[in-house]
């Protein structure tokens, strides 16, 4: 199963998330992550959807989403032409004797300590999802107490913007 990252500008209204997630559920598509945020335009939100599937599912999903009235612009964030980032917070069991080892790993991965208590610490790291996965693997043996990830967000490189695209519903 391949992974694809789709970015979309959607109307900033209540119910839009339900429309999008409902579409995935009823068409039997699989969301790996879904990230919604405000944008520079108060009328629009930006969604980044990571989808598991094949080319057929990618094409169907993109087109089905494009048909939704509240989905204005949508495109595949091509791996080579886009920047992907994700933020991860992890709470690790860190008794005094293990702390320096963990901090060494933190240095290598350019993570940050954002909370420290006698038995644990919280690290913050941003990067491409693959880097975060590698980091989790290394840190796992120390005992992960809790973990949160934002899901991937993506922007295309260069001057082209999602907003330059045509809204399907206005193209027919």
């Amino acid at each position: 199963m391949e992974k694809y990252t789709i970015t979309a500008l959607v109307a900033n209204k209540s119910g839009v998330l339900t429309r999008v997630s409902g579409l995935f559920a009823r068409r039997g598509f699989n969301i790996e992550s879904l990230c919604v945020c405000a944008t520079e335009n108060k009328d629009l939100s930006r969604m980044t959807i990571v989808l598991g599937g094949d080319e057929y599912i990618l094409a169907q999903m993109t087109k089905q989403l494009d048909k939704l009235i509240d989905v204005k612009k949508i495109a595949l964030a091509d791996e080579k032409l886009s920047v992907y980032r994700e933020l991860l917070l992890v709470k690790i069991s860190a008794p005094a004797e293990k702390r320096s080892e963990i901090l060494e790993i933190k240095e290598i991965y350019k993570a940050k300590v954002v909370d420290l208590s006698p038995g644990s610490l919280v690290l913050e790291i941003t990067g491409e999802p693959s880097k975060l996965n590698a980091f989790v693997k290394v840190i796992e043996p120390y005992g992960i107490l809790e973990l949160a990830r934002t899901g991937t967000i993506a922007l295309s490189r260069g001057e082209s913007c999602l907003n330059d695209l045509v809204d399907y519903n206005e193209s027919i």
Binding site: G15, R19, R26, K67, I69, S171, I172
Partner: protein, 551 residues
């Protein structure tokens, strides 16, 4: 000027050219009904049940091409619309459904007759709204009509909480935003034109998209110019004149043998506003083997969804014909036309019963004209109607294709009859008729010239056919016992009831029925046999090679 929300709604409906609403009043739409009453210019058809209202608005839209409107109260009123909305959605019918709801302050508190109808209808509408600010109401209604009637058409629901109907705000009339489909530049069709020129045995499959786009005339011109035979999906019937020499009839599960044979021999398939549903392309992979598949559709997501295409163009069907036909040379495909004409000599079904349904349906043409709307319910009678009635014009065959809604016909026939003002036929079965026969009261009340041909075989015929073919003749729950006296039932409603008991009755009874229908609905109980089959048949998931013409 300052108006209440309810008044604004009525003004906006009139702005959109709405002349008729189908609906049912209730607690949360009292203000809308009051505004309707005070306005007094819109025709409101009170149905027996909200489902009937939704199907009537759908039938009205299918028959007229205009957007149908239905109106229901919150809670059960709204949920009763659901089947009708889903039916319209599957068949791309422009519909605006308006529901009342509890006040905004009471939303989300499980109030009396509160239901999240926007949530419920999300998967079966093109779009829907909950209006929470009266200032947004007018533009919401305008946008709803635009969405319902543009692109791939479909239903839109507007949920209007009760307080929004009474709150007041400024209102100004606005001309409705007309939808004009985008024209198709020639360069988008060059590859298609080349493929058509190269094709030796092209076959056109016309779908509902040809009707929704009003493309019938240009479809005819296109087929004539490229000399390609035309077959039709269930939704496409009427788009191409059945009497034309290039027409092969219905294609798919219960399509004609001629269509199946021509399909097998065709080298190029021109899919015109059809979506390769499983009832047409049972075997999605075999369907395309050895053929060039060219698909035209206004819905981007239909392209390559069910059958992978070689070429495709996403645009309005009529606009495609307008650009494409002039790009093509007049073709001569004499051998191919000769071949398909030979396939057309097709023997009628295999009916064993003393009174076969096809004889009644074949005789129907003597009492109708090319403009007569014929609605159906779902099942054997529906397929026989599709096979044996000759539809010459679009918007005359009204049937629930995608959702296959039993009980659709009664409401749809009422809507079509009211919308067109023409004598209308409903072909139904005893199973389907039982589902929504309450709408007989609506038809009688409105004095509609409606001829109901009830194919009464005392069983759920299509399910029984499958039980015969695939379930070892174990007739689980498909015997209807036939206790209903349909003639008396019609009379109880105030309609006329007649019976066709044998072949000799067909002509005289049909004549009497069509004459009597001038005074109101007439039900004709047609006592057909329970073991007649719909044939040909391609079993689900099978290809055109596996067509059964005999049983």
């Amino acid at each position: 000027m300052k108006l209440t929300g309810a008044e604004i709604l009525i003004r906006c409906l009139k702005e959109q050219g709405v002349d008729t609403l189908f609906g049912y009043p209730g607690g949360t739409v009292l203000d809308i009904y009051d505004a309707l009453y005070r306005d007094g210019t819109l025709r409101h058809v009170l149905t027996a049940h909200e489902q009937g209202a939704a199907h009537a608005a759908d039938g009205y839209a299918r028959a007229t091409g205009k957007t149908g409107v239905c109106l229901a109260t919150s809670g059960p009123g709204a949920t009763n619309l659901v089947t009708g909305i889903a039916t319209a959605y599957m068949d791309s019918v422009p519909l605006v459904a308006i529901t009342g709801n509890v006040t905004v302050a009471n939303l989300g508190r499980d109030s009396f007759q509160e239901v999240d109808i926007a949530g419920i209808t999300m998967p079966i509408t093109k779009h829907n709204y909950i209006v929470k600010d009266v200032r947004a109401l007018a533009d919401t209604v305008r946008e709803a009509f635009y969405i319902a009637g543009s692109g791939r058409k479909g239903p839109v629901l507007i949920d209007i909480p009760k307080n929004i109907q009474t709150e007041v705000c400024d209102f100004e009339d606005k001309a409705p935003a007309a939808y004009t489909p985008k024209s198709v530049p020639a360069e988008k069709l060059t590859a298609v034109a080349a493929a058509i020129a190269k094709a030796k045995r092209p076959l056109i499959i016309a779908g509902g998209g040809c009707i929704r786009a009003d493309a019938s005339q240009n479809l005819l011109a296109f087929a004539k110019k490229i000399q390609a035979p035309v077959c039709s999906t269930l939704m496409g019937l009427g788009a191409y004149p059945a009497s034309d020499e290039l027409f092969l009839g219905l294609v798919g599960m219960h399509g004609t043998d001629a269509a199946a044979k021509s399909f097998r021999r065709a080298d190029t398939i021109l899919a015109c506003g059809m979506r390769f549903s499983d009832r047409v392309a049972g075997d999605r992979v075999k369907f395309r083997e050895g053929k060039t598949i060219i698909q035209f559709d206004i819905d981007t997501a239909e392209i390559d969804k069910n059958v992978r295409t070689d070429l495709s163009v996403m645009a309005d069907m009529n606009e495609i014909f307008k650009t494409l036909t002039p790009m093509l040379e007049k073709a001569e495909r004499k051998e191919w036309i000769k071949e398909i004409c030979a396939y057309r000599d097709y023997e009628a079904g295999n009916f064993d019963a003393a009174l076969p349904a096809y004889k009644i349906l074949s005789a129907l043409g003597g009492f109708t004209d090319a403009d007569t709307p014929v609605a159906t319910d779902v099942g054997q009678h529906q397929m026989w109607t599709a096979q044996y009635c000759k539809f010459e014009k679009p918007r005359t065959f009204l049937s629930s294709g995608g959702l296959g809604t039993m009980g659709f016909g009664m409401g749809a026939a009422i809507g079509a009859c009211i919308g067109t003002g023409k004598k209308t036929v409903l072909v139904t079965g005893d199973g389907c008729f039982h589902m929504n026969l309450n709408e007989m009261s609506t038809a009688v009340k409105e004095k509609l010239p409606l001829v109901i041909l009830l194919m009464d075989n005392r069983v759920l015929g299509m399910v029984r056919q499958w039980q015969t073919l695939f379930y070892g003749k174990r007739y689980s729950q498909t015997l209807l016992d036939g206790n209903t006296d349909f003639v008396k039932l019609a009379e109880a409603f105030g309609a006329k009831g007649l019976t066709i008991g044998g072949e000799g009755d067909i002509l005289p009874v049909l004549r009497e029925a069509f004459e009597a229908a001038d005074g109101g609905p007439v039900l004709v109980d047609c006592k057909i046999g329970m073991d007649d089959k719909v044939l040909p048949m391609i079993a689900p998931g099978k290809s055109f090679d596996e067509i059964m013409t005999k049983f």
